[in-house]
């Protein structure tokens, strides 16, 4: 561990350390005991890997240049200016920013006159910028005699040193390498140029052949004979780093851009994009509702391994009239938003939750915001559903296998790119991928570019983008949150209408979203033929009968139609209603005191006369009303058994239209996933305070505070936790009572840093060290004073 680095780290201000922890949160999990610990943690390969992954193309290039040649800022700047076509001013500006960031992340330390990489960074970056290994490494496995021969051919003075090291000294001189390059044929030079910008290794047969410059038969042999290429295996050769650098003319990169590549695409009218996004949002909410309604009555089973069967997904997609990927996405979002969960019978079924019912009564924009924010924090990749994983296993929607931690991060990055684009710009997928590749060049492979594509199409489907451009409400969701998003979306949504157009071909057209009451009623009274901005319903004998079954009379049905029709009810429709009613039963049953109501006294007489009704203990109240002592349910069942078709009536005399077959799961909704966001600033601040304190103690062996005397503090558990949280936030010290592992009651003065998983991490002033305390053993908290 470099002492200089540790000292540099220690010299950073608290604010700078907090910035470090914010940018590399893994360094304070768990909180290291002191700055030396922090420095050690920062130098581990895994922590460095994660830090480097967060660098953009340019900052990474800065680090790579420093890996190759640490030193003054001037030289670095010079090399970078030559690394691409960008104007010097832009490079300088970007360099200042990149250095600031690298220092903040503790990847670079030292003054401008002597910039150095933090310990371990060089190794983590190796090989930098696609260069080959140093020549000493290339010839590591060559026989010393062979290297001697090569040295002789190169005209190196025989000074008796280790051959490999002498070789390295020869090649360390760029002039020397340049002279060697001047000796070779153009074909050989062309072969080298192929390797110059990477990949720096190639395949040739019989790579280990021994060749002298005079006997070289082919371009490759010319190169091998001069050490410009070295064999690294039976059939592989590598370009030594020193040669590569000369070929690259002393720079590491040739087309380095100091700024992210611009996004290109189609510029949309912003209004149109917003409205299209709103249209998609509206459709998505509607599909979510349809999905839940569908599954309330026809719940798909939970697979034995979890998840939703492919067959059920197909069926759902068909019923909702959407492609399968969209159905999988919808199912995942609805699940993530807690609207469906597994439950029901023993084998398990996917059923709507009680939360669905509360979601349902909220406004469309709030419902959308709930779904869209569930998407932002979804740590799964719904786009993979229906495909196969690395082991060729089928991936099912809602299955645990769809968890991909990268998905949430790529989604956030992709959306950030979209949000950062010119308003109205619908960037092409390629340019988004290019931008992301620049922003995180080390993050490649896996499903990352696929995840970006998923994100783009999902954003369009859910309405965060409209025609490919970030919509106003999408931006509000990303910048603000649910409330802001709902507020931005509300004015773009169509007003609900309470009038439909009835037509003679027995269709009804609702030219917009219906008020929820009317919508539900129509869904019962007619069959939906077409959906979208409007809804087309068709009345049929069956649908009219459904209304009558639900207890409304033909007159009530027609009155309802008249009330909600902009035009007179067409004759064929009223004829249809009359025709169906002609053959339909007319019994009605009430709840409050269990009564039977019927417009036709004769029917009641019939009921009373039936011997089977004796058990119901019926009493006639009026020619059209009969009361019963039994419960409504028993009454209805018995009447049905007698062959009537009674319906339930609510307190105020309305018929209760409910689908008795709609079911809900008892299980709680899925736990909301902790979203992709940085660490909490308060926690970071507390952690840094603890490190500082620990460091001070560690270095000066600070005197421990004496244990405070007197009775141990005692407080109820909830109060303890609240007080500790408050102390973390405020950065104040507290006095606690603690039962140690032997059960001994002790008294401590703490500076709490973090609380998680039932433990408190804090700097213990009475022990002068950072400790973890089990929360359940803390007897109470009191103010230090």
């Amino acid at each position: 561990m470099s002492e200089a680095f540790t000292e540099w780290l220690r010299s950073r201000t608290d604010e700078q350390l907090r910035a470090l922890a914010m940018s590399r949160p893994e360094l304070i999990t768990p909180v290291p005991a002191h700055v030396t610990g922090l420095a050690a943690r920062a130098g581990t390969p895994s922590a460095l890997g994660r830090a480097l992954d967060r660098l953009d193309r340019f900052a990474l290039a800065v680090a790579e240049n420093l890996a190759l040649a640490p030193g003054p800022l001037r030289a670095l700047r010079d090399r970078l200016r030559r690394s691409g076509p960008a104007p010097a001013g832009a490079v300088d500006r970007a360099l200042d920013g990149a250095l600031e960031r690298l220092r903040t992340m503790a990847l670079v330390h030292g003054p401008d006159s002597d910039l150095r990489l933090a310990p371990g960074v060089s190794a983590a970056l190796d090989p930098p910028a696609g260069l080959g290994p140093p020549i000493a490494d290339v010839f590591r496995h060559h026989a010393p005699e062979a290297v001697e021969v090569l040295l002789e051919d190169l005209g190196a003075p025989a000074d008796g040193g280790v051959p490999r090291e002498r070789l390295a000294r020869v090649f360390a001189d760029p002039e020397r390498v340049r002279r060697l390059l001047g000796e070779i044929s153009p074909q050989a030079r062309a072969a080298l140029d192929e390797l110059a910008w990477g990949p720096s290794s190639g395949r040739v047969p019989n790579a280990r052949r021994e060749v002298r410059p005079a006997d070289a038969q082919s371009p490759i042999e010319e190169l091998l004979a001069r050490g410009l290429l070295g064999a690294t295996g039976e059939e592989s050769v590598a370009l030594p780093r020193e040669v590569g650098l000369v070929l690259r003319d002393g720079r590491l990169h040739r087309d380095l851009s100091p700024v992210p590549p611009p996004l290109d695409g189609i510029t949309r009218d912003r209004d149109l994009a917003d409205r299209t996004g709103a249209g998609q949002a509206f459709g998505f909410v509607r599909s979510a509702e349809e999905l839940c309604e569908l599954w309330s009555v026809d719940a798909p089973g939970v697979l034995r391994t979890g998840g939703l069967a492919v067959r059920d997904l197909k069926r759902t997609a068909q019923a909702l009239d959407v492609p399968e990927w969209a159905a999988a996405f919808l199912v995942e979002i609805v699940h993530a938003a807690g609207l469906i969960a597994s439950g029901g019978s023993i084998d398990g079924e996917w059923l709507p939750t009680a939360a669905y019912d509360t979601w349902l009564v909220r406004s469309t924009e709030e419902r959308w915001a709930a779904l869209a924010s569930a998407w932002l924090t979804l740590d799964r990749a719904p786009g993979l559903a229906g495909g196969r994983d690395e082991r060729d296993r089928l991936l099912n929607a809602l299955h645990p296998d769809l968890r991909r931690s990268a998905a949430i991060e790529v989604r956030a990055k992709t959306l950030a790119v979209l949000a950062g684009a010119e308003p109205g710009l619908a960037p092409s997928t390629e340019s988004v991928l290019d931008r992301l590749a620049w922003e995180q060049p080390r993050r490649r492979g896996g499903h990352r570019s696929e995840f970006t594509e998923f994100t783009l199409r999902e954003a369009e489907l859910i309405g965060v983008t409209g025609l490919g451009a970030m919509s106003g409400h999408g931006r509000a969701l990303l910048d603000g949150g649910r409330a802001e998003a709902a507020e931005a979306l509300a004015p773009l949504l169509p007003e609900p209408v309470d009038k439909v157009l009835l037509q003679a071909d027995l269709t009804a057209v609702a030219p917009g979203p219906l008020t929820s009451d009317l919508g539900r009623w129509l869904a019962l009274a007619a069959d939906v033929e077409s959906k979208g901005g409007a809804t087309v319903y068709r009345f049929s004998e069956g649908s009219v009968r459904r209304v009558l079954d639900a207890g409304q009379s033909a007159e009530e049905l027609l009155a309802m139609l008249e009330r909600h029709s902009a035009t007179p009810v067409p004759q064929p429709l009223s004829y249809l209603v009359g025709d169906v009613a002609r053959r339909h039963g007319r019994l009605r049953v009430g709840t409050a005191s269990a009564y039977i109501r019927c417009d036709d006294p004769a029917v009641l007489e019939e009921v009373l006369a039936d011997r089977r009704s004796n058990a119901l203990r019926l009493r006639r109240l009026a020619p059209t009303v009969v009361a019963s002592k039994t419960s409504r349910a028993t009454l209805i069942d018995s009447l049905r058994a007698m062959g009537y078709a009674p319906v339930a009536e609510s307190l105020d005399g309305d018929v209760m239209i409910s689908r008795p077959d709609a079911r809900r799961t008892e299980s709680p909704p899925a736990r909301a996933v902790n979203g992709f966001h940085g660490p909490e600033p308060e926690a970071v601040a507390a952690a840094i305070r603890a490190i500082r304190a620990g460091d001070a103690a560690h270095r000066s062996h600070l005197e421990r505070l004496p244990e405070p005397g007197g009775a141990l503090p005692r407080s109820p558990a909830t109060a303890t936790i609240t007080a500790l949280q408050e102390a973390i936030r405020q950065g104040t010290r507290v006095w606690i009572g603690y039962l140690d592992s032997q059960g001994q009651a002790t008294s401590r003065i703490l500076e709490p840093a973090r609380m998680e998983g039932g433990y408190l991490t804090a700097y213990d002033e009475t022990r002068a060290a950072i400790h973890r305390f089990a929360l359940h053993r803390i007897t109470g908290v009191a103010d230090v004073n």
Binding site: L502, D505, V509, G532, A534, T567, P570, P572, Y575
Partner: protein, 546 residues
Amino acid sequence: MNDGPLIVQSDKTLLLEVEHERADDCRKAIAPFAELERAPEHVHTYRVTPLALWNARAAGHDAEQVIDALISYSRYPVPHALLVDVAETMARYGRLKLDKHPTHGLVLTSTDRAVLEEVLRSKKIQPMLGERLPDDTVVVHPSERGNIKQALLKLGWPAEDLAGYVDGEAHPIILTEEGWELRSYQREAADAFWHGGSGVVVLPCGAGKTIVGAAAMARAQATTLILVTNTVSVHQWKQELLKRTSLTEAEIGEYTGAKKEIRPVTIATYQVMTAKRQGEYRHLELFDARDWGLIVYDEVHLLPAPIFRMTADLQARRRVGLTATLVREDGREGDVFSLIGPKRYDAPWKEMENQGWIAPADCVEVRVTLTDEERLAYAMSDNEERYRFCATTPSKLRVTEALVRRHAGEQVLVIGQYIDQLDELAEHLDAPVIKGETRVRERERLFQAFRDKEIQVLVVSKVANFSIDLPEAAVAIQVSGTFGSRQEEAQRLGRVLRPKASGGGARFYSVVSRDTVDQDFAAHRQRFLAEQGYAYQIIDADDVLR
């Protein structure tokens, strides 16, 4: 919020609110790429199908125009997926082209190699192709011009046929506009066809499709083969052509079961063309008998399958199809598109009616309640016999009589399916009957007497479904039909749609047995007309009898 008249649905239907002030403009903008599916009183439904989009491409519209029309008239945001789909579908048309090569004859060319490779791999396409030439060009056997178009359409890559037409044998034909003139829409239809080369003109019954045919012939100035549904229709075409054009009796030939004349203009029936002897089509030579410059297909929606096959071999000749509806009960709309040609012109029925070109009509469904004995018999009848039983129930007799009485003094047609029923009706109504076995001469005498109002009531079987010109028929009573055939219902209504000398409207009754399959079939039959905006009023037979 955009206050447009159009609502775009996610299932690719378009709802047009007709009372909206911009509805007319909108209709014009969307008509090229959307098929009118339903036209009831308030909201018309159009459907955007691949065929409709390709029709639009063939007519020179591009995806941008389509998308622009959708966005600018749509009240709500247009679903993104739909826009993408429109652009993709339209881009499929014309990737492949059939063209004439100076040395290799008919060739298939492509601007997109991937598409060409895809279709070349198809087992259906391979046998039709010859040598592969450079520049993504493949030789097509000239005889496969029609088949390859059919096959490519099925693969979803409709080819644009640019191989041109033979001129055929020239023959002067002039429209003689004396005492009448070509209506504006008839001229537009003929022009649209001519510029497109080949294709289909969609006009309502009674809108003068024969004249559009004559106008097309006048544009072609060439020998013409006309294919029609039956012999009576042959005679009517002949009469019309004599009346409307410079053609003389000697220039028009009839090619029917009875006569086999081949003249510069020859009118043949589908039936004679598809007649087989010993498994061979006997009259195929008619197609080669002359160097036809134009082939007219009357009632394209009825084109029988063998005619499609024959048409596949006639792709080098100009073809015009005439029909009231592209709806086919057999779903072969795609074959009409690839073999006859894209839709070149259409006009909605109600619009024609509003402009006075066809008579307004009231459609009434009369529901007859079966007597108890009839119900019992109906319930016990065999499945195959059920429709016949309820369609010919004696109760209908009384209702029909009452209806005829109600319209005493008007020209009434009674149309039915079953001969027994028709004979019985004729007897009760004391009216002559025309059925399959009635001789042509006798048929024409009766039709003429009906036109001259010498007889007022005529009972006809389905032989009179098509193309019988009876301008003064004001009332049609349908007592039974060919199950649920939608186009038959439209054709029958068409019998009474000619504008009346009196300027009055027409009335169409459909007598139906309540609560039987007759009622179900009737509902299906009525769909096309209901969708065209004809509202069926439903009344009880008792109201008629009272």
